[in-house]
Amino acid sequence: MRTIIIKINQPLTDRMGSSIEALIEVLDLIYDTKPGDSLTLDLSDLCFVHPFLILPVSALIKYLRKIGVRVLLELPKNRPCFCYLKNIFFEEGISPLIHQEWEKKLNDYNYKNYLPIISVPTTSVNEIIKNKILSTFENILQNQLMLEINVQIAIKFIIGESFDNIDQHSNVENGWIMVQNYPDKEYLDVCIADTGKGLLQSYKDADFKNITTHEQALNEAINGRSTKIYEKSRGYGIRTSKKMLVEGLKGKYFLYSGTAFYIWTDEHKNISPLNERFFWPGTLLALRIPKKAPLNFKYSSYLE
């Protein structure tokens, strides 16, 4: 057994990539961790966190504990950040399977600028709860933001389809979701994650023999290649979501699975393979969504 201390660095800016950079540093450092090790995640220097860092860290903690790593936490010294982490239910999130009063707890966020970490069960016995939790989540988001109808429907579409992908393909007991709105900025951040089998394994399990790398799997997924090869009219979820977000709303779409990520913004569109040490065990989706749609935006133009 080894004792490992990993410091989580404060992201340098509010840019989406800064949080991803901090996350990648963590992934690099935990790469050699083995069952039985004792790991201390040191968050003591954090002053502010975005969902793109804190949600995946929460998911990672659960993942590591599940494989037998003892994870301890050093919480932020900064008082507001410490309180924020408590308020977002870091690190376990609100889970309808643990918190009987999850609906009441969630409704406490009606007038805040964020929605806490929610651990959404993905097993089929919880279909009613799952739909209810996503519905409540979206209603509160609407109460908080008072978004115009076109943006509201687009967000519902994007969150619904993204979560459904986790539900259908991740083969893991829960997915994770969190939202942060920034009242003085023009966007909100939505992060959705799972620590399931990831895109590449999903294709492999469906016998796609020609898909052998994480970047190939990402390319197929963003093009809407469904693993349900014999069913027509499948695979529109990711394809439509990203078009609606980036072409329509002028937002940012970032999808990370295994050792590759896909980014699409106004300025960038690429898939990047990464060092094997930066392995994300599952799928991570980071969305930066403008709160105001361009004048000509109509969600229905993107439905296909």
């Binding site: 340098l12 990539g17 579409f157 394809r239 990047s272 990464l274």
Partner: protein, 113 residues
């Protein structure tokens, strides 16, 4: 037999997960003799996957079906699904693969997104 399915009894205002629809449809007697009406009162939104699952379930069994009390968003979702029901995605975009030589280059890229 005509059967009206009042969805608000089984779903919240937003119908999000395909598995939710699969579970719901398991309890239906999907025979040619039955005609289903999906009543969307108090349902505000349905995801594309869920609309797709409803359409697939009914068309696979050749049951007659229709929708009532739906809003424009629900209608647009069913229209989109029906439109693509017999087609496959054919547009394919090969996105540029951009590797980074080292972590410094990666961080430089991340700093601008």
């Amino acid at each position: 037999m005509k059967v009206t399915l009042i969805l608000k009894n089984n779903f919240p205002a937003t119908i999000s997960t395909r598995n939710g629809v699969i579970e719901f449809c398991k309890n239906l007697e999907l025979s040619l003799n039955n005609e289903f009406t999906l009543d969307f009162s108090e349902i505000y939104f349905i995801s594309r996957s869920c609309a797709d699952e409803f359409v697939k379930t009914f068309t696979k069994t050749s049951c007659k079906w229709n929708l009532i009390n739906y809003n424009a968003y629900i209608k647009s979702m069913f229209d989109a699904v029906i439109h693509t029901q017999n087609s496959m995605n054919t547009d394919y975009e090969n996105v540029a693969i951009t590797p980074f030589l080292n972590q410094k280059d990666l961080n430089k890229f991340l700093s601008v997104i």
